[in-house]
């Protein structure tokens, strides 16, 4: 190769890398690029088998029949309180939401729901946090869409916002309704 061209190779390499990083930053600003995000291994797979106590509590077999949004939350989690209004709006829109209280005492959960309102059609309790391990829950809040066959279709980490609902949840809800 021409020696002059060879000496320009580092410059070219840096240009390409720089363009790549710029694209990453732009997408990060739009919320489309998040290296921290860990994809759920459950997507496309049936919900792990479980039975949770609560009022009335539910088991994995109960999730079959219609699409259900399963929301993991806890009274001690501040973002969960932020998310409460979004969930209430979803409930009013007729989306069935089932809640699982993660590592939370029943009395605290009750107080939390009394304060922010309960969007949950059914409520399960995972006080020891064992079922959360099977689901691969990384923290609360975390939300899963389970289709009518009991297969996990979507997961969202962190509090959902009205934007998340319109941009991500609504299209996928329509798809599996």
């Amino acid at each position: 190769m021409n020696r002059r061209l060879l000496l320009l190779v580092p410059f070219g390499g840096v240009l390409v890398a720089g363009a790549g990083f710029l694209a990453m930053l732009e997408r990060a600003q739009e919320g489309k690029f998040d290296p921290r995000e860990v994809p759920s291994m459950l997507i496309g797979k049936p919900v792990p088998r479980f039975t949770l106590p609560g009022d009335p509590g539910f088991a994995s077999t109960d999730l079959v029949g219609r699409p259900v949004l399963v929301n993991w939350f806890a009274s001690w989690c501040v973002p969960c309180a932020e998310e409460a209004t979004v969930l209430m709006d979803l409930k009013r829109a007729g989306v069935p939401i089932w809640g699982i209280a993660y590592k939370d005492k029943p009395a605290d959960t009750a107080k939390f729901l009394a304060r922010y309102g309960s969007p949950y059609a059914r409520l399960g309790r995972d006080e020891p946090g064992r079922v959360a391990i099977d689901w691969g829950v990384t923290g609360v809040p975390e939300t899963y869409l389970i289709d009518a066959q009991g297969v996990v279709r979507w997961r969202f980490v962190g509090p959902m916002t009205p934007d998340t609902v319109s941009a991500e949840l609504q299209p996928i809800l329509r798809k599996y309704a």
Binding site: R4, L8, P10, F11, V14, L15, G20, L25, F33, P35
Partner: protein, 653 residues
């Protein structure tokens, strides 16, 4: 008032830096001696302004002036004084200001110690340093102003991340930054040489001490960081191939290569183009490391406030510095002609091999660090590259490096006799083989290879020394005389190479560590690694800005008490964080390492380790850095340093 003074000083530094960039570079281009002569004063001025700015920030932090945003967000009035000081650079804004301070210090140092440099080269070096200094100072001023006020001031600050409240970490970032930024000087020399269109032996002689100094600091900084993660994070490891760790390792690898290739430029006037590229590459990697950490596009345990908008600013800045210098390299490097010719089997050849291997390791680490990002961007795939990849790719490259390292310093320049070099090394090879065989009986193959490599490096370095001072060939007194007369440069080589051997022995020993996680009730005993660990009690302890639970563990062997360890779990109410304080007892052969975990049913979960040779890892790094310092003291590098000339001969230093 003080923060405004700091803000003003920062703006002043930008202005002076601008002048420092324009006037000397322009003067050098026009051959105007008076414009070139302005360079040192401007560099000094920028440093003074920057120092005033930085001290204002430290002052605000020490006096707990919570009307300053960064102080309110990163310190607390109850914090010990030392952490109020370190808190001023333990955050994004403060660390960028600190970065600028060191960069301006580099300019001032070149101004001060570079009086014997050719006028145009000095003007250009200082000008280039000024140019990059302006960029970073502007970044501090426009995108991460450390003096932003907060009104009304909160009654108290939000405290520093408890993990960072540690004496080891008080020292780690400054050392690391001095190392990173120190490579700005070889970079500036490289760019100046491209502008001049000329590189000679003198250039090599000037670049080397700056590279060495930066390299010593970087080595120390990396070692401190690794030591900190060993005792503070409490995970029992010392290196996690975390992106931020890799970001510091990359410039170290290419900086080490630069250190060696600069010798070839100096001694033989060969490898010029390559050395210039290494100098640019090393500083570029230092800069990119910071960018990747600050922009939030790397997933890491090292947290700073991440902000993509800030990332765009840094990226643009890096594009100018790195892209600009590499474009200049592409256009101007053909002008630099090589003169020295050497046979493949020679000292130069060995250094080329060293460069190829070090840069291959750097390329592998760079690929492993950035591949997940690009896979996500281009293919939408989420994947992580972890220790298995790095171990599988770095070890095979490090092995030939170790083998060659002991031989290289024995080879002659131009054309060498391999047989003669190996003849001096036969006993080192014998010791290494014996160590390897003995270790293979007790350990798995990989650690055994590690021990053999360590012995080869340490005894190979010794063999070199023995051959040079003709130990046992001439009377002892004559040998010692020869030792005293040995150039500091080659003594430094011996020490640094042996230091790497010590580090490798530590890493190999660490891979034999024994550990267990146990649930003990007070009075119960666990047996781990041949020691009996007895939990005496668990109690409460109060600290200045935290409350802690402390376990008392008595460690004994064959009924004899060896150590008492008191690991803690601290909770910091202001930051709402819990840290584990591991407790370590060391006798340099093994570390007894205990971490207190959760408490359950009246018992405590303890993580207990026996880490063999662990301290050697950092001891080796210290020895390497010491080797660098000894080499820095070489007479050859001091030639022309006026401070030395002024001192009467024989006076105590």
């Amino acid at each position: 008032m003080i923060p405004e003074l700091g803000h003003f000083a920062l703006a002043l530094a930008v202005a002076i830096g601008f002048a420092q960039a324009v006037i000397p570079l322009w003067g050098a281009a026009r051959g105007d001696a008076r414009m070139m002569q302005a360079a040192p004063a401007l560099a000094l001025g920028q440093f003074i302004a920057m120092a005033v700015s930085f001290l204002s920030l430290v002052w605000s932090s020490v006096t707990s002036d919570f009307s300053v945003l960064t102080v309110a967000e990163n310190t607390h009035s109850l914090e010990p004084l030392v952490y109020k000081i370190t808190g001023s650079w333990g955050n994004h804004e403060g660390s960028i200001l600190f970065w600028c301070l060191i960069l301006s210090l580099c300019g001032a140092a070149v101004a001060q110690f570079g009086k014997a440099l050719p006028a145009s080269l000095r003007a250009r070096v200082i000008g280039v340093l000024g140019l990059s200094g302006v960029g970073f100072a502007l970044f501090a001023l426009l995108a991460s102003d450390p003096f932003l006020r907060l009104w009304p001031p909160p009654p108290n600050g939000r405290d520093m991340n408890p993990l960072l409240q540690d004496p080891g970490l008080a020292m780690h970032p400054p050392m690391l930054y001095v190392g990173y930024v120190g490579f700005a000087v070889p970079f500036a020399f490289a760019v100046a040489a491209l502008l001049e269109g000329r590189i000679d032996a003198a250039w090599g002689r000037w670049v080397r001490p700056w590279t060495l100094a930066a390299w010593c600091f970087l080595t120390g900084g990396i070692a401190l960081g690794s030591w900190w993660s060993y005792y503070e994070l409490g995970w029992g490891g010392f290196w996690f191939w975390d992106p931020v760790e890799n970001a510091s390792l990359l410039p170290w690898l290419t900086g080490t290569a630069l250190l060696h290739s600069a010798i070839v430029v100096e001694k033989r006037e060969a490898l010029k183009v390559w050395t210039v590229l290494l100098a640019i590459g090393t500083f570029s990697l230092s800069l990119s490391g910071t960018f990747l950490v600050r922009s939030g596009i790397l997933n890491s345990v090292h947290s700073f406030a991440n902000d993509p908008a800030r990332g765009v600013f840094i990226l643009a800045l890096l594009g100018l510095v790195i892209g600009g210098s590499l474009l200049l390299f592409g256009l101007r490097a053909p002008v630099l002609s090589a003169t020295g010719i050497f046979a493949p089997l020679s000292r130069e050849g060995a250094i080329v091999l060293n460069n190829v291997l070090l840069c291959s390791i750097a390329a592998v680490v760079l690929t492993g660090t950035t591949y997940p990002l690009f896979a996500d961007l281009l293919l939408g795939e989420k994947l992580s590259v972890g220790p298995p990849f790095f171990n599988a790719t770095v070890f095979p490259l490090a092995a030939p490096l170790c083998v060659a390292m002991a031989v290289g310093p024995m080879l002659a320049w131009k054309r060498a006799d391999l047989a003669a070099a190996l003849a001096k090394l036969w006993w080192a090879a014998l010791v290494a083989a014996a160590v390897g065989v003995v270790a293979a009986f007790g350990a798995r193959p990989l650690p055994a290879i590690g021990f053999a490599a360590a012995a080869w490096l340490i005894f190979g370095a010794l063999a070199d020394l023995v051959a040079r001072i003709r130990l046992f060939r001439v009377p002892l007194g004559a040998s010692l005389q020869r030792l005293g007369a040995l150039p500091r440069g080659s003594l430094g080589t011996t020490i640094a190479h042996a230091g790497l051997g010590v580090t490798i022995a530590g890493i190999a020993g660490m891979s034999l560590a024994q550990q267990a996680i146990v649930l003990l009730h007070p009075g119960q005993v666990a047996h781990v690694g041949g020691y009996d660990w007895r939990l005496e009690s668990v109690g409460d302890v109060a600290g200045p800005n935290y409350a802690a639970r402390e376990a008392r563990i008595e460690v004994s062997r064959d009924g004899r008490v060896v150590a008492t360890l008191a690991p803690q779990r601290r909770s910091f109410p202001v930051q709402q964080m819990t840290t584990t304080e591991a407790r370590i007892n060391t006798n340099l052969i093994r570390d007894l390492y205990a971490v207190l975990g959760e408490e359950r049913d009246g018992g405590a979960v303890l993580r207990l380790h026996v880490n063999w040779l662990a301290p050697w890892i950092w001891l080796g790094a210290l020895i390497m850095a010491a080797g660098g310092l000894v080499s820095l003291a070489d007479r050859r590098l001091r030639v022309g340093a006026p401070a030395r000339r002024a001192r009467p001969a024989g006076a105590p230093a």
